[in-house]
Symmetry: C2
Subunit: 376 residues, 2 copies
């Protein structure tokens, strides 16, 4: 077993765990910085490793397939070597991107025909091809090919789609068994629970997915526009069913508060573009609340960006200086905000883990949630 | 005297020197990275200091005056503190930027009326105001207010303008004497030789400027579209006249070859946007020649960006990876290319200095010039 459960909170479902792969440990709960096209935007790999220090990052199958393309990744010896990242990588299956290509894709039982967002060229993803692509990428954790249902979605389509996602999962598993490793290190497949916002479909899907003896499970089809409370309901429903001894990954969530609440509901792994994308727009997440650094109130505030000093940028630069960089639209501003936010997100999940192990997670979480959403 | 001449090449006018200020040493020949609006685009101050390691960087008076504005700089305690850079800073006088605002500025004896490129608001720069602005910025080396003549320019205008630049210099010096230091550390004024491409005007201007007992001199009005050979002629004319015991700064020049040739003609200090701007467009300067990293030939070249490894990015990333980042337009690509190019420019001037001190500069320069312009 790759995953070891170290402690479970007594007042919530929060868990601390350890996942071991050929690229090292993943201490859970974990936040995975999004490295869409073989890089985390604005962050050198060295900074990512030494300052932000995640055990795992995320890559996007759809984007990597289009660029740099598979022949380049294969010639490089896989994504780890191509981008010079020797820790863990998880890749999504392309399902979410295909869902985003609304109007440029056609879903059939066999798979999905879609047109590239870059040049309009036609491509086809199937459960089988997506397994082969992720073999070439060489990610440590591969996601099964699924359909991400929009919100809102009528019941009959949600049911039909969820059943198809299950059939696709069986095809993924069957094909993966026949597809050899490309680079020697092991790869693990995580299937994805779908079912939209319908509790019975989520239960149905969680039970089906749990019946597969994989080394971890994902909850997909959230963060697509539904109210936050529905995400919590879905998580609660699904984590009641998924086996406790395997890690659970909630895809695409969310704010610092969302992350703590979902940890409390039994989630172990997270990814989200929020710290990077919102950072590039001047929004900083801190333990005391949210800073809009473009605001004029910071014009002559020469205090450190974040006195906590989680990463070196926090005390190296002042709020007034960072505001100036955003005012003049210098890319250094986007770089600084990205490093700060990722540093904070990783601090947050590491702290959560410490408190789960120490046994006071719920009290700590309650206190943090009161501060994290404040506007500073 | 701030400047000490350590060695003079026997076969050229190349010199190795040492300039001492309150913010430390400046070993010459030096290349000054351009930090226009209080940052070198895409480069953290820590990387600039530790990896690229220049003794001095450049800021732009015109840009800093408009943003973050003088009240912010003053409240911060000057530009050094505002941007967290504790080594030397040289600021230009705004003369070049005003020249670039063609159609949005009016030059009179008193000074220059101009409209901001940001919001069209009206402003006025005079020799006196520019001294006061640079006091607030707190740069270690301040430039006198001058007019940068376009190329081509008729003789009568060039003469009239050069004479006015000289009168402006006298006003700068007179006003500076009456304007106290803002932050305690000393500031030095460098006057600027103008005269366009007319040898007699350059001689006239160099003699006038040399008659002022300042601690360094600049050659301006070059790199405005004239052929490279004319730059060399101007440099040769001017360095024949300027006192040997003071540093000479050639403004806005140039390619690696231009820099070596002008070092051979007696120039000590350089600045240019080329390593940063061209880097952001995918052009890499190396000791073996020039790389256009966007070229398809690098698609599967997994060798280091530059095996010399001057900065850590050179061996951290491969050519294929950097090409990919440019193909997908990720800012990390621009960051890497900028660090590489600045690292190379600083390496080049440090090597030049070593060879001047060792006594074999001319032989080394001849060999380097044959390689530096090659397309790889």
């Amino acid at each position: 077993m790759a995953f070891t459960l170290l402690n479970q909170d007594s007042e919530s479902r929060a868990r601390a765990g350890l996942f071991q792969t050929d690229h090292g440990k993943i201490e859970t709960p974990i936040f995975m910085p999004v490295g869409t096209i073989a890089n985390v935007k604005g962050v050198h790999q060295r900074e990512l490793k030494e300052e932000i220090n995640p055990d795992i990052i995320l890559g996007n199958t759809y984007h990597l397939y289009l660029r740099p393309q598979l022949d380049v990744l294969k010639a490089a010896g896989g994504l780890h070597k191509f981008m010079n990242w020797d820790r863990n990588i998880l890749t999504d299956s392309g399902g979410y991107q295909v869902y985003s290509l609304s109007g440029r894709r056609k879903i059939k039982e066999e798979g999905v025909n879609f047109k590239s967002h870059i040049d309009g060229s036609s491509h086809f993803f199937s459960p089988e091809s997506v397994m082969e692509i992720q073999r070439v990428i060489g990610s440590d954790i591969m996601m099964a090919f699924d359909e991400c249902i929009p919100y809102p979605c009528d019941y009959s389509y949600a049911k039909k789609s969820t059943e198809r996602t299950h059939r696709w999962l069986d095809r993924c598993i069957a094909h993966l068994d026949k597809t050899p490793l490309e680079y020697g290190h092991s790869q693990r497949l995580f299937p994805i629970v779908q079912g939209g916002t319908y509790k019975d479909l989520r239960q149905f899907s969680a039970e089906y997915i749990a019946s597969k003896d994989t080394e971890g499970y994902a909850i997909g089809g959230v963060s697509v526009g539904e109210p936050t409370d529905l995400i919590y309901e879905i998580t609660e429903t699904v984590t009641s069913i998924l086996p406790k001894e395997k890690p659970r990954y909630l895809m695409g969530v969310g704010t610092p508060i969302n992350i703590l609440e979902n940890i409390a509901l039994g989630v172990d792994m997270f990814d989200c573009v929020m710290p990077t994308r919102n950072g590039r727009n001047g929004m900083l997440f801190t333990a005391e609340g949210i800073i809009n650094i473009k605001n004029k109130k910071w014009r002559e505030d020469f205090s450190a960006i974040d006195a906590m000093g989680i990463t070196w940028v926090d005390t190296e630069y002042s709020k007034a200086y960072l505001r100036h960089l955003f005012t003049v639209k210098e890319m250094l501003g986007r770089q600084i905000a990205t490093i700060h936010n990722l540093g904070f997100y990783l601090w947050l999940v590491r702290e959560a883990r410490k408190h789960i192990i120490a046994g006071d997670f719920t009290a700590w979480k309650t206190k943090m949630v009161q501060k994290l959403g404040r506007k500073l």
